[in-house]
Amino acid sequence: MRGKMERNEAASKIKAFLSSQFPTIKNVGNDVPLLKNGHIDSLGILDVVTFIENEFGIVISDEELLPENFESISSLTNFVQAKTEQILKC
């Protein structure tokens, strides 16, 4: 139950950030491709990385900078959740 709450919270934080920075994302669903559809470009993604690191207190390694981790709001949320769980386990 608790995990679900956190997931929703993370998703809404990510969505809020993305729609403030990338207005074309405002009304898109959680599974809509953000990169393939051109909502976020190569410079925009750097801001997304910085936001995720600061907001969720995680460090994204070079190997994790992969399109599949950033493809949609859902995949970003999954990625953030997996990373925060890693930290809790340590």
């Binding site: 207005p23 190569s42 410079l43």
Partner: protein
């Protein structure tokens, strides 16, 4: 004789029919297949009524399909207008209206975003989409590109075009107003590919990656040089620099062109360039702005066997200068010297040649000087002028290009960039007009005054700063105003910072005093 752009493809198709010409994630086309597709498209375009000189927009990502569209439109006698895929519907509408576009080639996803503006483009008579998946519910008829490519009809067609005919219009910004369309004829585009192929020594064994947009002259030049020389062109879109590094390796790429921002991303550890060795990468080029010295040093370390060419060009004259790689140690801050068959003059305000070390305007003469701006004779006359060094008896026989860039030349003819003559901003390789951003800021309805300047920035070249004065009684949140801009313009045009002032500084004649605003930021 190759006198038109698509002749280069036909010639390479007869020389290297089974060699790879165009490769992306979807397609791998040999020269023969590319030639067949382009001629199929040309037949199809003529069948749906395309006439000689008709403008056809190509609003697609960098891809094989985009390349085929270019050669197909050229072969049909039309004029291709590449539109940067980052542009928003409003900017696409401006381009389409400005050049009275007859047809538009795009994909279903992009077409959906354009629905609201299609009615505002009265000249538009057909749409061609790639990839299908679009119900025909918009005004101009929609055709499937793939159906045209599939079955070349090879109707007999008498080719009327000559090298002097308009081939392409590339939209670019200046210091004021909306983007203007730079007109290039077939001769100019082909002269650009011959010249660049010469100094980069491009051969049929080369495999050239295309990451720059086709709406950018350097991006288009890569496609043209590859096709002309029978080399392979590998277009891609990317989000992370490591995707590029992966493709460089997988496709055994030998040449790549980039802009400073892109090289900044490539030089970062996350690009994985550090861990990969790319011995086959023969050369890389930088254009679209000065490459910061630290990035240059990093690239030289990371790519020890790759030649690095620093280049400079402006769309109005296509390509202008390059620094030979063996000069990098001696003059790493130079923008090089004239490309082959081209002369670069440094001219002072009296139209005389500057002495070495004296600052003047870069003036370009050679076969790549464009035909000027579509529908803008006055702006054209300001940029393309008679050669100032010719005796009056020669009249206006030769037009040279006044770049608006201030430079110095050393004793040996190498050039150094000093600054811009006007307020134009250059950020991540894009030319940006301050007045276009100011206009968008005004659309918020909250401002009395607005002024936009470029601030030097290591990764972007320049970042955009806006100064605004609210209308009486308006309260302003700078984040809201930035968000407003982000809804109206592509990200590279959105101000990074915004400062609210009570009043903007003015010149005695009442105009906004940009130099004072720049000094406010500690700039000269």
């Amino acid at each position: 004789m190759n006198c038109l752009i698509h002749h280069m493809l036909s010639t390479s198709a007869s020389r290297f029919p089974h060699k790879e010409a165009l490769v992306d994630q979807v397609d791998r086309l040999t020269f023969e297949a590319a030639e067949n597709q382009a001629s199929g498209l040309a037949d199809g375009l003529r069948q749906i009524g395309l006439q000689r000189y008709d403008r056809v927009g190509i609003y697609l990502e960098t891809s094989v399909c985009q390349a085929i569209s270019i050669f197909g439109v050229s072969r049909a006698g039309g004029v291709f207008v590449p539109i940067n895929s980052l542009l928003f519907p409003e900017q696409v509408a401006h381009v389409a209206r400005d050049c009275q576009m007859r047809g538009l080639i795009t994909n279903g996803t992009k077409l959906e975003t354009l629905e609201s503006i299609l009615d505002d483009i009265p000249s538009l008579e057909f749409l061609l989409i790639t990839g299908g998946g679009y119900a025909n519910k918009v005004r101009p008829p929609v055709y499937e590109l793939s159906q045209m490519l599939g079955s070349p009809i090879h109707q007999s067609y008498r080719e009327a075009s000559i090298g002097k005919d308009l081939a392409a219009i590339l939209y670019t910004s200046g210091s004021t107003g909306k983007p203007k369309g730079v007109m290039l004829n077939h001769e100019q585009v082909m002269a650009g590919s011959s010249i660049v192929s010469d100094y980069l020594a491009i051969e049929s064994s080369d495999r050239i990656i295309g990451v720059l947009p086709m709406s950018f002259d350097a991006g288009m030049n890569q496609l043209m040089t590859a096709i002309q020389q029978g080399a392979t062109y590998v277009p891609m879109t990317f989000v992370f620099a490591r995707e590029i590094v992966k493709l460089l390796q997988r496709e055994q790429i030998t040449g790549m062109a980039g802009v400073p921002t892109l090289w900044g991303l490539m030089a970062q550890p996350s690009s994985s360039l550090e861990r990969e060795s790319l011995p086959q990468l023969r050369y890389i080029t930088n254009t679209g702005g000065r490459l910061p010295q630290n990035i240059l040093a990093n690239l030289r370390r990371l790519l020890p066997s790759t030649k690095i060419f620093l280049m400079y060009g402006l769309t109005e004259a296509f390509r202008s200068t390059y620094l030979p790689p063996d000069e990098l140690d001696r003059r790493p801050t130079s923008m090089g010297k004239a490309i082959p068959n081209t002369e670069i003059l440094v001219v002072n305000d009296n139209g005389q040649l500057c002495r070495p070390g004296e600052t003047g305007e870069l003036v370009h003469r050679g076969p790549t000087v464009s035909m000027g701006y579509w529908g803008q004779p006055d702006s054209t006359d300001r940029v393309l002028r008679p050669n100032p060094l010719h005796p009056p008896e020669m009249g206006n026989g030769e037009k040279v290009c006044y770049s608006g860039d201030l430079v110095k030349m050393d004793e040996e003819g190498f050039l150094y960039f000093v600054g811009r003559r006007d307020n134009m901003i250059k950020s991540s390789g894009f030319r940006i007009s301050p007045s276009e951003i100011e206009e968008t800021l005004f659309q918020s309805g909250k401002l009395r005054e607005a002024a936009v300047i470029g601030i030097p920035d290591d990764s972007m070249g320049q970042s955009i700063k806006a100064f605004v004065v609210p209308r009486d009684g308006e309260s302003l949140e700078s984040t809201n105003l930035i968000a407003f801009c982000a809804e109206k313009m592509p990200r590279y045009m959105v101000p990074k910072t915004l400062e609210v002032l009570k009043e903007l500084p003015k010149t005695p004649s009442g105009k906004i005093d940009y130099p004072t605003l720049r000094r406010r930021e500690g700039l000269s």
